[in-house]
């Protein structure tokens, strides 16, 4: 499991880290109880400030995706897999898009436009 940070990107570095960790948790690559690297080790490996990694971990903790405890470190708390068929359909969408040669950015644009245009429905419960 590798994560990458693009220093030239307009997306803040902490946000790039946060988004990739969330994606790994959602995809099931990171499971509940898995330990993340220490802030110091990850910042050294990426060659970025420790504060940047610490902020990404704080954001993850605030979202309830990881928890940080003394001596134990930062661990994944729970999978954020959504209920229902949404994740399976997302997989199917990506597979279909790749088969049809649609680039990742174009696919994201399609999903964003669907989010804007699709009618809002009330969540059950």
């Amino acid at each position: 499991m590798r994560i990458a940070v693009d220093l030239d990107s307009t997306t803040p570095q902490y946000e790039q880290i946060r988004a990739q960790v969330v994606a790994l948790i959602t995809a099931g690559a990171l499971h509940e109880g898995d330990r993340l690297p220490t802030v110091r080790a990850l910042s050294a490996d990426l060659g970025i400030a420790a504060g940047t990694v610490a902020r990404a971990y704080r954001e993850l903790e605030a979202a309830g995706q990881v928890t940080t405890r003394r001596r134990v470190g930062t661990t994944v708390t729970a999978s954020t897999r959504p209920p229902g068929r949404t994740q399976d359909l997302a997989h199917e969408l990506v597979t279909t898009a790749r088969k049809e040669g649609i680039a990742a950015q174009d696919l994201l644009d399609l999903v964003r436009s669907a989010l804007l245009t699709a009618p809002q429905t009330k969540a059950p419960g």
Binding site: R2, A4, L36, P37, T38, R40, A41, A44, D45, G47
Partner: protein, 327 residues
Amino acid sequence: MWFDDGNVCIGDARGTACFPWPTASIYVGSAALVLALVLGVLIWDARRTPTPSETAARANRHATLASVVGVAMLIVVLMWMTAPFLVGIPAPGGRVLATLPAVAGACLLGAQTLGQLTWPRPTGSHREAELVRRAITDVTPLSQRRLVLAWAGAALVLLAAFGVVADGPRSLTRVAGPHTEVIGPYPGWYYGAPMGLAIVALVVATELVLRLITVRPAVAGVSVEWDLHLRRRSAGHLVRGVQLVLSITVAGILVAAGWGHLALGRGSPLAGPGEVGSAGSVAQQYLGSGLLIAALAVLLTGLAATVLPLRSGRRRAMVALGAPVAP
């Protein structure tokens, strides 16, 4: 050091020792041979590590340089320590001599610290890292760290025991009739206090440097196994060196105490005709001999743990090191 009538002389305010050229050449040649042999093994070990990229090769050279400099300093200090016993050059003060193994270990730790602190940082605008947690146990086998703790614990226990047994700060005392004989040097508190402090400092510093090795930046563009191999090599050189100097310390304590108890057991040479003298003690002689044998065993164990490779699996792991990580 100076040359006098075909002799090589070494000395200072404490004394002077002169050797004929052949003797001096044999010692200097042997020392150079030992140094070359150990450093040659280190460099050979580094060169057989497959390096999948230029970055990996640079990291390999950096790690090797830190180890070679550290081990070279360790060997030079240990040679300085053994020279008074092997060739009879004037020995430094007792407390300096007693703490020289720890100084040798500190030299090794210093070189490794410098190597880790100056480790090449990631460059470029695109950075990658493995999302895996590294611990000290990943870079050092538990058995090696336990050995370091065992030697340190044994040294501290022995120093405390001999400190209690000693009759003076650094001696045993024998009363033979009207005479009182002081037997020393004995590892009492005079030596025990600085040695104990040096041992504790060495063990704590070793743990800190192992942490540095664990958290230093990963080598870019190589597999996790390759990066871990390099960390393990650095940590292995460090822990092996530290356990060696600690085993030499334990052996030194046992030798000093052993000679003291042997001398105590031999009886007093001071008791003159008609005087009631000490007849010696068989128990003390047995104790002294036992301590000397234990010292030899400790030294051999320390040397074996330094030079013998770890259990299998290393060669298998080496095979998997060559491949670069998939982009």
